[in-house]
């Protein structure tokens, strides 16, 4: 059960974390704000079922699912845009710095691998906590994390060689 005070504290403490987590995948400010608002609205609606100490993880679970739903809809509508973006990015290759390469590589990852990397690197969760948030086993988390990181590393390697 979450009281009003606890809810407000959760908002104060974790809004920016959830926002960063969603924005890394969505890359759209308005859409990110909508998803974050939805997450907190669901938290308030389910306040009787959620433990205050687990609110953070619960928020990331909801945010992950909301983000995947959003990306599914976006992929249906803007396949062409994505292709154009990639072309534009390729054209701008010489100006890429390391951070931008990582961002691009991150966007090319499957959503699940991306979420695992973000939860691990930005939020500092361990394998077990990530597994609870994303409803996966520890070993699965580890495998996905390894695959995701390897893809980013390979992208860096390839693009660094090109530059």
């Amino acid at each position: 059960m979450i009281s009003e005070k606890q809810y407000n504290e959760t908002v104060k403490d974790f809004t920016r974390n959830v926002y960063r987590f969603v924005f890394k995948s969505v890359r759209d400010k308005e859409a990110t704000e909508d998803i974050v608002q939805d997450c907190f609205m669901k938290l308030w609606q389910n306040r009787t079922q959620v433990d205050a100490s687990k609110a953070r993880g619960w928020l990331f679970t909801v945010a992950h699912h909301a983000m995947i739903n959003y990306l599914k809809i976006q992929n249906r509508n803007t396949t062409l845009d994505h292709v154009e973006l990639k072309a534009a990015a390729a054209a701008k290759l010489p100006d890429f710095d390391l951070k931008e390469i990582i961002e691009r590589s991150l966007l090319d990852l499957p959503p699940l691998q991306r979420s695992i990397i973000l939860l691990r690197d930005l939020e500092g969760y361990n394998y077990k906590e990530i597994g609870e948030i994303l409803q996966l086993g520890e070993s699965q988390v580890k495998v996905y994390l390894f695959r995701g990181r390897k893809k980013i590393k390979d992208s860096i390697k390839v693009l660094s060689a090109v530059i």
Binding site: K12, T15, W44, L118, R149, K150, K153, I156, K157
Partner: protein, 220 residues
């Protein structure tokens, strides 16, 4: 200790902190000895993401329950305004001293009738009644003078038998005049004629009426 397995997996485990102390020492040794391996480790290290928390603006305020945007100073100012507004309705001795509230409306014209004591003389009752009506009530046919408040002294009740002579000393009247357009029959006819000419010109312009050459001896 000998390190076994895929190099990538090894580096991953090292960076994730999954290796025990002995394995870590062996790994560090290998890293120092082998430059290619060291380069590979650096690539793996770059694959880690680090970023600070973003600014979410007023999103937090919007998400909070029981707090609305514009809290703080503005809410206090609003509260003070409401309290001051409510205090104005509380009756107090200060308010009693203040001048009487008068609505900002145009004051109705007032006819002031001043009576003076005059020598008593006998008057016919019917005659007096007619006289009173004549003074007090304005003729409805005129319509130009509005007397909404008239102080009427019922003298008949106070002085049943003898009637004093009533004289109007001062009359403060406001005349309400309406502006009636001073159109005479001549003006109206002229306006009608112009209107007709204008309509005909419009029809002619639109090509509804053919131009007829006026009959004249010069045309033949």
């Amino acid at each position: 200790m000998k390190l076994e397995g895929d190099i990538d997996e090894l580096v991953f485990d090292y960076l994730e902190g999954n290796l025990d102390k002995e394995e870590q020492e062996a790994f560090n040794l290998l890293k120092e000895e082998n430059e290619t391996f060291n380069h590979n480790v650096r690539l793996w290290q770059n694959a880690y993401i680090s970023e600070g928390l973003p600014e979410t603006g007023d999103l937090e305020q919007r998400l909070m329950i029981g707090r609305q945007p514009g809290t703080g100073i503005m809410s206090k100012v609003g509260l003070v305004t409401i309290i001051v507004g409510l205090l104005s309705f509380v009756p107090s001795s200060i308010n009693e001293k203040l001048p009487e509230f008068r609505p900002l409306q145009e004051e109705p014209p007032v006819a002031v009738i001043v009576t003076e004591p005059t020598p008593v003389r006998k008057t016919n009752r019917k005659e007096f009644k007619e006289q009173k009506e004549q003074i007090v009530e304005p003729s409805p046919s005129s319509g130009m003078i509005e007397v909404s408040e008239v102080q009427v002294v019922d003298l008949w009740k106070t002085v049943p038998v003898t009637l004093p002579s009533v004289t109007i000393k001062a009359l403060e009247l406001r005349l309400v005049t309406e502006r009636v357009p001073a159109y005479t029959d001549r003006d109206i006819n002229r306006l009608k004629r112009r209107q007709l000419e204008r309509r005909r010109a419009g029809e002619f312009k639109a090509g509804n009426i053919p131009y007829v050459v006026p009959l004249s001896s010069k045309n033949f």
